[in-house]
């Protein structure tokens, strides 16, 4: 074996180094709090929004998630991560939107058993990485329930009447399965993969959807936020790279 040193200092070949966007309070993240379910709103045949009262909630930024746990009477615990759907200004309340996963332990309880008055435990908000403080132009791409943290950003943008550019590209199987359909506005381009309204093409998110968004370069460029299944995240982040989005300005949240 030959020694090959000294070598120049390491420089990453691709620049990930996407810094976290905010400092996360270790204290808030470590503390389990009781969240009381106050309301259930159906979004689509498979997804519903669960509104909770969490009086001591420390607040969050759009894009952050929390950890939720359910406990059975023999002490068995199931915990899962969920993105926060509501905007930060909903003081003392948070909303989550859950897909009903077939055979799912936690989402199955929410969709089959939960009713207002029930209590669960949450800790958070967690991770400052996917957070969007509302400062930089944001290009949001999501699929299925991946739209949840992105909707928190859209809601924040509206609630604060922010002028910074914001665009949402969202993929759903059909118009019936498009979560938050009635709230989406001019900032949104929906893409349907199985069935679409008359005259709208059916297909996956493609270069042709991403190109016009990247052609429109706001001052300082886009901060891209991609959220969904791993397969979708891989696909969408590739499209962004191929369309010229810098790799260190793509943030990804994978639901597994």
């Amino acid at each position: 074996m030959t020694e090959i040193f000294p070598r120049p200092a390491f420089t990453p070949t691709t620049r990930f180094a996407v810094p976290g966007r905010i400092a996360v309070s270790g204290r808030a993240a470590a503390l389990w709090q009781t969240a009381t379910l106050t309301e259930i709103r159906r979004e689509t045949p498979l997804a519903a929004t669960f509104r909770f009262s969490v009086p001591a909630w420390a607040g969050h930024l759009p894009g952050q998630h929390l950890m939720l746990r359910l406990t059975a009477d023999d002490g068995y615990v199931a915990q899962r991560h969920y993105s926060i759907a509501s905007a930060p200004d909903d003081s003392g309340h948070i909303e989550l939107t859950l897909d009903h996963v077939e055979g799912g332990e936690v989402s199955g309880w929410f969709h089959g058993v939960a009713k207002p008055g029930d209590e669960v435990e949450v800790r958070g908000p967690l991770s400052g990485f996917f957070a969007w403080p509302g400062d930089r132009p944001a290009l949001l791409i999501g699929a299925g329930s991946g739209v949840v943290p992105l909707m928190s950003m859209v809601r924040h943008h509206r609630a604060r009447d922010l002028r910074v550019p914001l665009r949402l590209l969202v993929s759903a199987r059909s118009p019936q399965e498009l979560i938050y359909a009635r709230e989406l506005g001019a900032e949104t381009t929906p893409v349907f993969t199985r069935s679409a309204p008359e005259g709208v093409p059916v297909g996956r998110v493609a270069a042709a959807h991403v190109a016009p968004l990247l052609a429109e370069q706001p001052p300082g460029g886009w901060e891209a936020y991609v959220c969904g299944s791993n397969a979708f995240a891989e696909h969408a982040s590739r499209l962004l790279l191929e369309a010229g989005q810098p790799v260190d300005r793509i943030r990804i949240e994978r639901f597994g």
Partner: protein
């Protein structure tokens, strides 16, 4: 304990291998990286160990493969709550690399960094004694890019964010220096048996 009305959970078999708060992901292997999967081929890959060592050294793919092979067979645990049992990784024990560079007596910690710029910190004691690997095979096949291929760090007794994908090197230090997730609220060490998930744990 705060019992959730009507929650029974799945029928469960007691599994002593499952750390608290984890579930068995079965055949699934979720992918949880915040970054874009890089296009990194074995020809682009290298692994460097420097910092507080006597002989800093960089290995390329072929040189690393000349070292004595070492395998890990066992379980892995991700902070997002899944665990995966009986996985098989192939590569080289980190001890083999460290034996070449010889860390100074003052060395206590390491920062692992990836070809993407991702970083994570580890106590040196968690990287030695046959508990850490540079792994390039999974189940007898080349490690897939989204799981960190061509090669990743493997520290199976800690939460998996410590097992840096697309590993590029280790910088040996005499102090702890938080890495990417650790600066974003995650625990400095990440022991799944003590549920060291977030910085307050």
């Amino acid at each position: 304990m705060h019992v959730t009305r009507g929650f029974t959970g799945r029928p469960r078999v007691h599994n002593p291998g499952l750390p608290p708060g984890q579930y068995d992901a079965g055949d699934e292997w979720p992918v949880l990286s915040a970054e874009v999967t890089p296009d990194l081929t074995p020809a682009d890959w290298s692994f460097r160990v420097d910092g507080l060592v006597e002989k800093p050294r960089t290995w390329d793919w072929a040189q690393a493969h000349e070292l004595a092979a070492s395998a890990y067979e066992g379980d892995i645990h991700c902070v997002t709550s899944w665990s995966k049992f009986g996985v098989r990784f192939g590569g080289v024990s980190l001890d083999t690399f460290l034996d070449v560079v010889r860390p100074h007596g003052s060395a206590t910690h390491a920062v692992a960094y990836s070809h993407t710029g991702y970083t994570t910190n580890l106590p040196l004691a968690d990287l030695t004694g046959g508990r850490a690997w540079i792994a390039w095979e999974y189940d007898g096949k080349p490690l897939a890019p989204e799981h960190g291929g061509p090669a990743r760090l493997l520290v199976p007794h800690l939460y998996f964010w410590k097992s840096a994908k697309w590993i590029a090197g280790l910088r040996i230090l005499d102090h702890d220096e938080p890495g990417f997730w650790e600066q974003n609220g995650y625990h400095a060490r990440g022991n799944p048996w003590q549920e060291q998930r977030y910085s307050g744990d």
